[in-house]
Structure formats: structure tokens, C-alpha cells
């Protein structure tokens, strides 16, 4: 027992007959977290923590680390236990009462498929990532925060699997998310994003995920999308979503703390941290293109558009955050103005891509109904009618002639974000694809944007190793050269998991269960 703790214990013994002194939150926190750390003596600390210096970050005093939420381990277990009890009671009720039939429309389930295939495996990856970061950072405050977050993320992966397993009994595409995550072309986007972070050093990892992703960007995923789940009658998803998001609040504060801590420790840390903020803002923003599509196209009842969400959560709240951080010399992430200009195009371009390639995806796509097209016109007055409505009209006409359009060519992918090259020059000519390229050791590499090109140019040795799904198919590493062979390798059932919603067994089942006929 150290001196402080024994003093308190003594004091407790002295006053045992009267009232024991109740410790304040700050004191309690100190004893139950900081005080549990120690400096090693059998081996030097530098050998025990070999990875917290090579990134160039200078830390002079780990005691300067502030934990905004003073949650001790015992309180953590108590509150997490309470959250789980609530969540599982709701999942039980949902399953017993055929909750899946209460969602607004069978199309909605496709948003869940994308979430389960692309986001839930990230939760598990995050659990591994934080366990690793906690092991590699020598400051006890940071290690406790990473430990809690590693446990949180494991909980999120588990609760999502448990909740969505109910949907898996009734709908396609939910049967093998981990297998798909490791192989499928569109899932290489989230997978490569997270593996990029995990293969960086511990400070870059925490800055990338806790700050750039959790603090700056995840509100865009969890707030409007989960509120959207509630709006669409999905009681199970909104419950796991908000249960997870209540943990995210702690994760976000870890993100803000890590950045403030690094900047307060040494002025030499500023350029390193700024570069990470620039890189991971852009990486995260590109990943959220999938969320933009979910919000604007996949929720039958919509809460807000991607463009509105970007304004509230990035421009307004992100703006306030970066104004606050400007005292440390940090500026807004590079290319944030590009994201702002792309906001009226993003969801339409990504949904069009999935529409083109849904014969090779484990989710169904559709042309928005007329009322939905009108909503898109209203939310995107400058772009939808002019650029995107005519495209949908064309595809709709083809589908009416039984010529549903699927693109049989394999697209070129961006070497960094791994998204097909579908983004356009929104500034000059929004119908022209945005291409960038770099030469490295005699080979040419392609990018969707200046943001992705910058990231490559700074660390080319890292990104030349990217596992690009299209290249892998052409190299014969994905089951074969034909679509059926690749789909078999993905574990997709053709005609069930993929294709147009109107022609899918999901739709036939939905109509049968709910007694609705396809009106439009």
C-alpha cells in the first residue's frame, strides 16, 4: 500500500466509530486508477515499452494526462452491467414479438446488412487495437482508458452479433460477416482503413481512431443513423446503437484528451499531430461515404440528409472543436473544404455505384421511389435533378424493359481508400471523374483525390502493399476469373444475397409476411 492510500486507511480506522470519510470523485479516481500503475524495476521502462518513442512524439510528464470522465473500474463494471441488462431485455422482447416485422419496409434491412458486414467487424478490430495501444503506452491514465475501450469495443461487437442474429433468421446477407469482411470488395474499404491505423504506432493509432474517427466523425454515423433506426421501427438496432454510443462518449473524450496532451507536452509534437489529423480526417471522411448512402438512400423514413448531418456535426461542431484547438496551433484538417463541396454529391455517387455492382454485393439495391426522389431534390436542390435524377430515370427505363443494368467491368480502385474511382471534380466539372496518380519505383499508382494522393506520397512503402480486391481478382487470388467463382469465394448465394431488391427473395418474403403487394 502506498503512502496516500495508507493515510486514508489509517484515517478510516481512526474515525471508524463515527462516520467514515467519503472520498471525493477525484480522490477515488486517483486511488483506483493512477495509483495502480508502477515503474518496472527488473527491466528498464524503455525496454518494457519499446514502441512509444519511434513516432517522434515527446512526452515529458505522463502525470499531465487528464481523464475527463473519472470512471473507476468498479463503477465501470456497475454501469456497463446495467446497460447490458437493459439491452438484453429489449433484445428478448424484440425476438419474442417478431420485431423484424415492425420495421417500415423490407428495404431497410439492407442498411443493417451493410452495418453488420462493414461496421461490426471494425468494433472487434478496435478491441484488438486498443488492447495493443494500452500495452504500448506507458502512462497509466492512457492505459486505463485504452483498457476500458478495448472491453467496450468487444461488447459492441458481441451485442451487434446477438441483436442482428434475429434478422439473420429471416433475411439474406447476414450469415457470414467476418468471412465477408476479409474478402469482399466493398468491405476492403473499412478493413483497410482500420488496418492502416492498427499498423501505425500507438500514438498515431489513438489519434486516428479516438480523435479523428470517434470525436470528429462518428456522430455522423451513430446519431442520425441510429435515430433513423428508431424512426424506421427497428427497436433492436436503436437500442444496441445508443448503448454503444454511450460508451463512445467516453472514447471521444479520450480522443480529445490525447490530442491536447500531446500538444501540451512538447511543441515538436504539433507538426506530427497535425499531419495525423489531416490524414485521418480524410481517411475517415472517405469511409463515411458508405454512411452518406445509408442515410440518403437506405432508410425508408429519413431523419436528415447527409448534407444536413455534415453541416451540424462537422461544420458546426467540428468547427467549434478546431477553433478551441487553435490555441495549440492546430488548424482545420486539410481538404475539409473539399468534403464540404462534395456533400451534395457523395451519397448519389456511392448509391449509383452499389446499384451498378449489386450483383456482386451481399445487399440489394433499388431505384428510389418517386416520393423519395422528390425528397432528394428538396434536400439537394443544386445537384439531384440536374445530375442524378436523369441517371436513375435511365436505369428505371431499362429495368422496365427487363434489362436491369449491372456493370460487368471491374472498376479501378483508389490505392489508399480502396473505393472505386467514382468521385468527380465537383469544383470544375461534376460529371468528370477525379483521377490523381503518383509514380513510385517504376510503377504508377492511382487515387480518387488529392487527399488520398497526399497520404500515399508521404508513406508510399506502406500503401504499395495494399490488398486491392480488383487486382487480387485479376491475379487469380479470389476463387477464379468469373463472377460466379468470385461470389462462391465470398460465400454469397447468387440470386439470394445479391441483385435488385424487387427481384429478391427478401422482397417476396416481406410482401408475404406483411400482406403488402408491390404498389410501386
Amino acid at each position: 500500500m502506498n503512502k496516500q492510500a495508507s493515510d486514508i486507511a489509517m484515517k478510516g480506522a481512526d474515525t471508524a466509530k463515527t462516520t467514515p470519510r467519503k472520498l471525493g470523485l477525484k480522490e477515488r479516481y486517483n486511488l483506483m486508477t493512477r495509483d495502480l500503475g508502477w515503474d518496472t524495476t527488473y527491466q528498464p521502462m524503455d525496454k518494457v515499452f519499446p514502441f512509444d518513442e519511434f513516432e517522434g512524439i515527446k512526452i515529458h510528464d505522463w502525470e499531465g494526462w487528464q481523464d475527463p470522465f473519472r470512471l473507476t473500474m468498479d463503477a465501470y463494471w456497475k454501469f456497463q452491467g446495467e446497460k447490458e441488462r437493459k439491452l438484453y431485455a429489449i433484445i428478448d422482447a424484440f425476438q419474442q414479438n417478431n420485431g423484424h416485422l415492425n420495421v417500415t419496409d423490407g428495404r431497410y434491412i439492407n442498411a443493417l446488412k451493410l452495418f453488420f458486414q462493414g461496421v461490426s467487424p471494425l468494433e472487434y478490430a478496435a478491441s484488438r487495437g486498443y488492447a495493443l495501444a494500452g500495452r504500448n503506452l506507458r502512462g497509466v491514465g492512457a492505459r486505463v482508458a485504452c483498457q476500458m475501450q478495448a472491453i467496450d469495443e468487444l461488447r459492441h461487437a458481441q451485442t451487434q452479433i446477438h441483436t442482428i442474429s434475429h434478422y439473420n433468421k429471416f433475411f439474406s446477407g447476414l450469415h457470414e460477416n467476418v468471412h465477408m469482411y476479409d474478402r469482399v470488395w466493398y468491405l476492403s474499404v473499412p478493413k483497410s482503413y482500420f488496418e492502416d491505423a492498427m499498423t501505425a504506432g500507438p500514438f498515431e493509432f489513438v489519434t486516428s481512431i479516438s480523435f479523428s474517427f470517434e470525436y470528429v466523425l462518428t456522430n455522423l454515423l451513430f446519431m442520425p443513423f441510429m435515430s433513423g433506426a428508431a424512426f424506421n421501427g427497428d427497436m433492436a438496432t436503436v437500442t444496441f446503437g445508443f448503448s454503444a454510443q454511450s460508451d463512445e462518449s467516453r472514447h471521444m473524450t479520450l480522443g480529445l484528451e490525447i490530442v491536447k496532451f500531446l500538444l501540451e507536452q512538447d511543441p515538436a509534437n504539433l507538426p506530427i499531430v497535425q499531419r495525423w489529423i489531416d490524414k485521418w480526417f480524410w481517411r475517415g471522411y472517405r469511409l463515411l461515404a458508405l454512411v452518406a448512402m445509408m442515410m440518403d438512400y437506405m432508410l425508408p423514413k429519413r431523419v436528415m440528409s447527409w448534407s444536413e448531418a455534415w453541416e451540424i456535426y462537422f461544420e458546426k461542431n467540428g468547427g467549434a472543436l478546431f477553433e478551441d484547438l487553435s490555441r495549440y496551433g492546430v488548424r482545420m484538417p486539410k481538404y475539409h473544404e473539399v468534403a464540404q463541396k462534395e456533400k451534395a454529391h457523395l451519397s448519389h455517387q456511392i448509391w449509383s455505384t452499389f446499384y451498378n455492382y449489386s450483383h456482386a454485393a451481399a445487399l440489394h439495391t433499388w431505384i428510389p421511389k418517386d416520393s423519395e426522389k422528390d425528397w432528394l431534390s428538396e434536400k439537394y436542390p443544386d445537384t439531384f435533378d440536374k445530375l442524378y435524377r436523369p441517371r436513375f430515370k435511365h436505369w428505371e427505363d431499362l429495368a422496365k424493359k427487363d434489362e436491369r443494368w449491372f456493370n460487368d467491368g471491374l472498376p479501378m480502385l483508389c490505392q489508399v481508400c480502396q473505393i472505386p474511382m467514382v468521385f468527380t471534380e465537383v469544383d470544375t466539372d461534376p460529371t468528370r471523374i477525379s483521377f490523381r496518380e503518383s509514380d513510385y519505383k517504376g510503377a504508377k499508382y492511382h487515387f480518387c483525390s488529392d487527399g488520398c494522393k497526399d497520404i500515399f506520397d508521404y508513406e508510399p512503402e506502406k500503401y504499395v502493399q495494399a490488398w486491392l480486391p480488383v487486382h487480387q481478382i485479376f491475379q487469380g487470388n479470389c476463387g477464379g476469373a468469373t463472377l460466379p467463382e468470385v461470389l462462391a469465394w465470398y460465400h454469397f448465394e447468387p440470386g439470394v444475397d445479391n441483385g435488385d431488391y424487387d427481384l429478391s427473395p427478401d422482397r417476396a418474403n416481406w410482401d408475404r409476411w406483411t400482406g403488402t403487394r408491390a404498389a410501386d
Binding site: 470523485l25 456522430n219 435515430s227 428508431a230 454510443q245 462518449s249 461542431n317 467549434a320
Partner: protein, 89 residues
């Protein structure tokens, strides 16, 4: 100057008491309602007071019970046994 802070809470009974308490203790706060979620924005500072919430719930409410109703937040946190503040600027 943009120094906005916010907190988002679930729309449960317990959260309703927290929301009402915040709105009374933070006069400059504005409330926005979404499905299953209430967001409260405020310029510069927003406060959750243990006493105000306890009074509304009619029982002793521990400030850390906030974690059970919380969805998200933005701002620098200052937390004690009696007050949970979000501040900026």
C-alpha cells in the same frame, strides 16, 4: 465565435429529468428533438447538476448515472461529484 457545446440523450423517463434539469440550469441552451434522441446545444457552457436531477427524479441521483442515458457530447468535460460541465472557449 463558434464555441458550441452539445449533449445528446435518449428519450427515456430518466433522461427526461436530466434534459429538464439541463435546460433550467443552462438558460442559453436550445433543445432539438429527433426520433429516440434529444440534443441540447449551448454556447460556451452547459451544466448537468446532480441536485437538479435528483429533485426531479425524487431520489438521490448519482452523476455518473448519466452514462446510462448519454448518447453523445461535444466540448471539454469538467466533472465533480455535484456537477458535470461541458465547456469551450
Amino acid at each position: 465565435m463558434n464555441n458550441n457545446v452539445f449533449i445528446a440523450l435518449q428519450t427515456s423517463d430518466e433522461a427526461r429529468a436530466i434534459i429538464d434539469a439541463i435546460l433550467e440550469d443552462t438558460p442559453a441552451a436550445t433543445r432539438s428533438d429527433f426520433p429516440a434522441m434529444v440534443q441540447i446545444d449551448a454556447p460556451g457552457r452547459l451544466v448537468v447538476r446532480r441536485e437538479s436531477v435528483s429533485e426531479r427524479l425524487g431520489r438521490d441521483w448519482n452523476l455518473q448515472e448519466l452514462h446510462l442515458s448519454l448518447i453523445s457530447l461535444s466540448g471539454n468535460i469538467d466533472e465533480s461529484d455535484d456537477e458535470f460541465c461541458l465547456v469551450r472557449g
